[in-house]
């Protein structure tokens, strides 16, 4: 999910070193269908983090979000006043609307810490149906750098159509560094554009 490592990588690593850091986890039974928590996953996370992380949600970036080591391709961060999130990709070295550059954000979410409101993930994962499903998925995205928009465009449009957001239209409602550099400007932009996040429930 971080983009540096795939499911197949994990499986291969496990087969090479069965006692290594990559382990198959039985999910057990689902205890929180909305945010995506399973009892055995929680038990596993608790045990291997020595109690440092108690629970982990598959579908939420607000409640017990997933942790990462630091090699993720993108970071999603809440933009509180907009009711949405911004996503910065690693190649984007400029200041982002949340007031932190990618490097500062990476210091915040990396290193196995659980930081509600922030997750590290891959570019590909943005177009997944499971991407922050608990918070409303890609409907929440209010800002992305142009290069990221361009890179994920094709699948993003398909996914937006699937959600009934309109394909290219929705992409155009998302601000980028050419249209908004600060949180205030993002809010102004998405209000004008009629972005769905403006009428959604607050995230937290």
């Amino acid at each position: 999910m971080c983009g540096a490592y795939s499911w197949l990588d994990c499986r291969a690593a496990y087969e090479i070193t069965p006692s290594g850091p990559n382990q198959p986890i039985a999910k057990g039974s689902c205890i929180e269908p909305k945010i995506g928590q399973w009892d055995k996953i929680n038990a596993f996370v608790q045990q291997v983090s020595r109690g440092g992380v108690q629970r982990m949600s598959q579908y939420s970036m607000i409640t017990d979000p997933m942790t990462s080591c630091g090699c993720f391709e993108c970071i999603a961060a809440v933009l509180p006043s907009t009711g949405g999130i911004m996503i910065a990709n690693r190649e984007f070295a400029e200041m982002t609307p949340c007031g932190m550059k990618f490097s500062t954000l990476a210091g915040t979410v990396g290193g196995g810490q659980q930081t509600p409101g922030f997750i590290g993930h891959s570019k590909h994962y943005i177009n997944s149906r499971k991407f922050i499903a608990a918070e409303g998925g890609i409907r929440r995205i209010v800002w992305m750098p142009t290069m990221l928009k361009e890179e994920i465009k094709d699948n993003f449009i398909k996914r937006a159509q699937e959600l009934g957001l309109g394909g290219e239209e929705f992409l155009a409602k998302i601000a980028d560094e050419t249209t908004a550099a600060t949180e205030e400007q993002v809010l102004e932009f998405i209000t004008r554009a009629g972005h769905p996040a403006t009428s959604m429930e607050p995230m937290f």
Binding site: L79, C98, G99, T108, T115, F204
Partner: protein, 475 residues
């Protein structure tokens, strides 16, 4: 529990006013969560939020300070269960008992023996930091008297050498200029409020703030009164964790906030188990009645037994350990144990980058360099000493990394070595222009010769070969 950045954010004004220096309140909140910013930087935060944030930020374990003004000891305020999570902050204070049954010469020699328990290890002075006067006589007068004498005479001698320094320290006669200029703190061990009051009256001017040990369920109010009047921290002593928590609350209600906890019963195994539980309760559950530093008493048993027990209690999690033995061979391992677990694992231990003279080198003596990582330097130093060839060791500042690490990180190159040579003014120390370099960085000899115009001699890869090298190749 520490608040997450998002929880902190909810308490902030959310105006993105930028007056804290951050572009957004969210960025500021994340900095606060990582303890890289101070709440005072936000001019608009509400009083209510301030209180909530301060409560969350208050250290789960209280800091307690005692001892003399010129040598105050700080214990407590630890933040983690394990050293590798961050670091341990305030090193365990090691104290030695003096019974108030002693008098005359016996007393003098006991104080002298305690004073001598100072050592130097890898360039750091370590030693016993407190004297615990025990009220074995059961009456106030002798207790007050011995406390007064201990307060007057407790002055540690300059460090004796550990490791390779022992020989040198013994060779040079006591040099008053190297005195530590500090004195030992006092711990008053009595459960009689009368004895405590009498002793405190005697040592009011000499001992600074002694630690009073101990209040029990029986004498808590009277002891707390004595402690409060004299402004000294108080040990709470009880047989179980539950009783300790009750007692510390009681003492706090009586107006004494600086409390040190003492579990008085149990085998070593039970003590370790309970001390660990107390640490978990105070740090992880923020259970305030147990959020204090701890003291353990290791009385009785052979010096070896005391050593083993004290070391275990230093590791889990005594802020102060009081022992009976004055045998240097038993005390040094305890101090070493303290030193080992209280060094900051995030920072390599370093020596000062300069030229060190080993023996009495002259203008024809060999000159070699190594890096300022303590382990590297002291290994080289002891091997050079063993060679009995008087030499200069130039220590290059590599931010505390070893030779190969520094070389691969480009902290050890012809430029840093040339700079260190210029700073140490080595050209005036030796007449020859030959520099011995570590064998592992032989590859830099060419560039180094060009940068310095000195002849580079490639030394051995392992410093253990230095004695042979200095005797055979250097000659």
């Amino acid at each position: 529990m520490a608040l997450t950045g998002l929880e902190i954010f909810k308490l902030l004004p959310k105006t993105n006013c930028k007056k804290c220096g951050m572009p957004t309140c969210l960025a500021f909140a994340m900095q606060l969560a990582q303890k890289r910013a101070k709440l005072e930087d936000c001019p608009h935060v509400s009083q209510e939020s301030k209180q909530k944030l301060a409560a969350a930020a208050a250290p789960p374990m209280r800091k307690v300070v005692f001892g003399r003004k010129d040598a105050q000891l700080t214990v407590g305020q630890e933040t983690v269960m394990f050293r590798h999570e961050e670091k341990f902050y305030n090193p365990t204070v090691l104290a030695v008992t003096i019974s108030d049954k002693l008098s005359g010469n016996d007393l003098n020699s006991r104080i002298k023996a305690v004073n001598s328990l100072q050592f130097e290890r890898v360039g750091t002075k370590i030693g016993v930091r407190a004297i615990a006067v025990t009220n074995d006589s059961g009456s106030p007068e002798p207790f007050a008297q011995v406390c007064a004498q201990a307060a007057k005479q407790a002055c540690p001698e300059p460090g004796r050498g550990g490791w390779s320094r022992e020989r040198r320290a013994n060779n040079s006669p006591a040099d008053s200029s190297t005195s530590l200029g500090t004195s030992l703190a006092l711990i008053l061990v009595t459960e009689s409020p009368q004895a405590a009051a009498a002793a405190l009256k005697q040592i009011k001017d000499t001992a600074g703030t002694p630690l009073l040990a101990a209040a029990t369920a029986k004498n808590a109010e009277e002891m707390a009164k004595v402690a409060k009047e004299n402004g000294c921290p108080l040990v709470a002593k009880a047989e179980s964790i539950e009783a300790l928590a009750d007692l510390s609350e009681k003492i706090k209600a009586a107006g004494v906030e600086d409390i040190v906890l003492n579990l008085s019963t149990g085998s070593l195994k039970e003590k370790l188990y309970n001390m660990t539980r107390m640490r978990v309760l105070s740090l992880k559950k923020v259970f305030r009645p147990l959020g204090y530093p701890t003291v353990s008493f290791v009385l009785g048993g052979s010096p070896e037994q005391q050593m083993a027990e004290a070391c275990s209690l230093i590791c889990k999690y005594s802020s102060i350990v009081v022992v009976e033995t004055v045998e240097p061979y038993a005390i040094l391992p305890m101090l070493t144990c303290v030193m080992n677990i209280f060094t900051d694992p995030q920072k390599p231990v370093q020596v000062e980058p300069k030229v060190y003279a080993i023996g009495e080198p002259g203008e024809n003596s060999p000159l070699m360099f190594t890096t300022n990582f303590s382990l590297t330097y002291y290994t080289v130093e002891s091997d050079v000493e063993a060679s009995r060839v008087p030499s200069y060791i130039l220590v290059v500042d590599t931010e505390g990394t070893s030779v190969l690490t520094a070389y691969s990180g480009d902290k050890l190159n012809e430029k840093t070595v040339a700079d260190a040579m210029a700073k140490g003014n080595v050209a005036s120390l030796v007449k020859h222009r030959k520099l011995i370099i570590p064998g592992y960085v032989a590859v830099m000899s060419g560039k180094l010769e060009e940068a310095t115009n000195w002849e580079v001699m490639v030394g051995p890869r392992e410093s253990a070969m230095l004695p042979k090298y200095l005797k055979e190749v250097w000659k």
